[in-house]
Subunit: 257 residues, 4 copies
């Protein structure tokens, strides 16, 4: 009856009466107390043990993404929290629903540009120049480049790039990003900063984090940040104030006919 859908398998976890396994590791004896959250996350997602450099760079990305002040995600989380304080997980989930195309989409699109450059048969510089020209001509926003606040340069990007070098990673993705950056400055005739999003796309490429779930890194890191905002909302409520401002400062105007 169910012939249409073949029986799937899972390679993530299993348990017996006295053992729990994640991938091929014994949770109690091999993982708890022996690996950090970040090592566990890399292992659970990829099935591979991370090298110290991979752990350090994934940590760096997670640290970069955790907190950004009163973002739309934070506002959504605080609004839901005061409406349903009995369900902390709902407030976090509401904020995570904002980790969508507007912000994280640029990270994924930057990663795609980097891959495009790395795979270009005509040479990386030629392809980078073609990309810069293509975006300029179509007046599209450049994913991974530019920042409305941090000018001339986003301070997070050089730090992340330096870490890749410090940990002696191959650096192909960073090289592609820098090549693209140079061509963008040339084609646009002015300096446009590599933003955190662009640098993160390159760093996650360096450590072999699967591009299909790259957005998940932002989701996990932001989840922790949102928990911090819920604790602050309990102790120093801000949501009611923002709600009042919204009600008072967005006036009603009758429809025109």
């Amino acid at each position: 009856m169910m012939a249409a859908t073949p029986r799937p398998k899972t390679r993530i976890a299993r348990h017996t009466n006295d053992k729990i396994f994640v991938r091929d590791a014994d949770l109690v004896n091999d993982l708890i107390g022996k690996v950090s959250f970040t090592e566990m996350m890399f292992f659970q997602i990829t099935g591979r043990r991370a090298s110290p450099a991979q752990v350090a760079l994934l940590d760096a990305v997670l640290v970069t993404l955790m907190e950004h002040g009163f973002t739309p995600s934070v506002i959504a989380t605080r609004m839901v929290y005061i409406s349903a304080p009995e369900a902390l997980q709902s407030a976090v989930a509401a904020g995570l629903l904002g980790v969508g195309s507007t912000f994280v989409g640029t990270m994924e699109n930057a990663a795609k540009l980097i891959d495009e450059i790395l795979q270009a048969s005509e040479g990386e510089e030629t392809r980078a120049k073609a990309i810069a020209t293509r975006f300029r001509e179509t007046r599209q926003a450049l994913p991974g480049f530019g920042h409305h606040l941090h000018k001339p340069d986003d301070p997070r990007s050089p730090r992340l790039i330096a870490l890749v070098q410090e940990y002696k990673m191959p650096g192909h993705h960073i090289r592609a990003l820098l090549t693209l950056s140079a061509q963008i400055d040339a084609v646009y005739g002015r300096h446009i900063t590599i933003n955190a999003t662009g640098a993160i796309a390159a760093v996650l490429g360096e450590i072999g984090f699967p591009q299909e779930v790259m957005r998940g890194v932002a989701v996990v890191s932001r989840a922790a940040g949102l928990v911090g905002h819920i604790l602050e909302e309990q102790r120093e409520p801000a949501a009611r104030f923002i709600w009042d401002m919204a009600e008072h400062e967005v006036p009603y105007e009758p429809a025109r006919d």
Copy 2:
């Protein structure tokens, strides 16, 4: 006009043109590349720098909670993922909505029992016995105790408790938990295991993690686990198979009158 709601303040983050601060630390110079995700999470949420022991124990809890196989959360995530693959964050959020009272509530309630014992003026053992008696008489489930699968003992609990001792923490919360455990065995006349939930409540108490957002630790850890299931769903789809089973194995029955 907005006098009714006093202006709140935030102590979490601020930024200038070339600097980003989280709490009182410079994100680029003090945090990225210098602290792990877990250190950053503790710092962002509590405003305090974690000691090495606090980091190790928070890591241990996060590692314990990340993965449990095909839980209701995982099933919800996979169902939403195949319905809206363009929005990975929605699939994670759907799974996190399942981090509610059934599972995490027991962790919070265990933490409350531990606090009740620690604050008892009549002595910890007396209070622990009273709690055990109260639950037995009202036939309520004991939060933090018992496991339908792991009998006689949940293997995660002794490991977590041993780590607290290894890191030479004061151990008050662990002591209260063990006192409660002994009284439960005496009052019920049989051994009931301390489950992972109970051990985690004690460990988070040891490291001073704020009880008001304790549920957030499970939310963050589980978020990472759900990302792993999304990647597996992409490569080895299971949701369609589960959906087919549900459709075929839950038969329709007309209403009785």
Copy 3:
């Protein structure tokens, strides 16, 4: 192997190659084009066909709950919408997560008080007085009574109560609500309005809407309202303005030691 969990049945829907049934009705021939959304909702949820009076009163409640201006739910929806405009359903879901205890909980708690009065063996008036006294002494908020803006009276409540009379419903729940209202005014020594929440609890009781999913009525109605806000956000963006206000008007303050 699955003996532990007995096989469940469903009474909601089934389909064959050329027929779809909801409950015992043929979707195509008996429902589409023959019943309104509200009739269908009552039928799908309860398994019973609604009388014209039940439909009219459920419609009245749904109409009452749909729209309330820039509520926390609306703000959450708009924040998520600008962050993930590709996923309209996420924005609606984020807003619905705010349909929690703060607002809808009072509706459910009002329904419980009404039921308590209806089932009181000592007489409705005596029980109503006891309830009013209990809330006054414990200084708890009275579910279904009082409104910070609509004083002395919430204009929605008399309208909803009048409709129950107009449709010649038995009126037991309304009578219990009015009895409670009279006792509250007497015990508190001043008039406290029946708010929309209190009136809705009584109306839903009148039509036999299952109390276990009463919150669902607010969820459905609010979903429609949130869709309207998303369309307005597309045409007249407000979320960015509210975000800017939140960033600028909630200042950073260093932690005290």
Copy 4:
């Protein structure tokens, strides 16, 4: 300071001490008890009063979409419900997160094809043929056409189309859909059914429902259906059974190297 973001306005709602307005209507005197949910929904979203035909057709679409048995959305809702029964709104929200591209995306894409045909300067039939040819050559799935179960024809589509004629709507969108259907059958050399999604896209076009939020119709209708499943889950639990099946029937397989 906030000069960058111009002050927005809202045309949806406002209130005074004793009045609540939605659009330009007095909620208490003009709407409650006078309009149905569906009329209110059309009015809140579009700002226009619906004609009787528009109401009837929007009702027909809402009725069509409410219930489909154990869909991925329903499974997600039931999984979250048993995990967090205290937060009914979370369970509904989880299910709604599944109203994404896989199902509703085809409705929106069908609506775009219909609009493309209606606006074609070269004639509707020519454009319909070109579309059918384009999809056949690129082997893409045809949005609004085909059904894995309902063969040769989806029974809902002729019913919805007949209603448009019954209510004497102009019928342009229906005509475009039927023209496309005829060309598809010709180009593919076999009959492919217009499915419910395709018919709904045309019906919503007929009543002038804004295409930008068309997905919202499915979200609202499905919300009601999910509430019905939560009530059934309370009375006849199925989630635990599905969870057990998933655990037992998806076996663990070690990773290959």
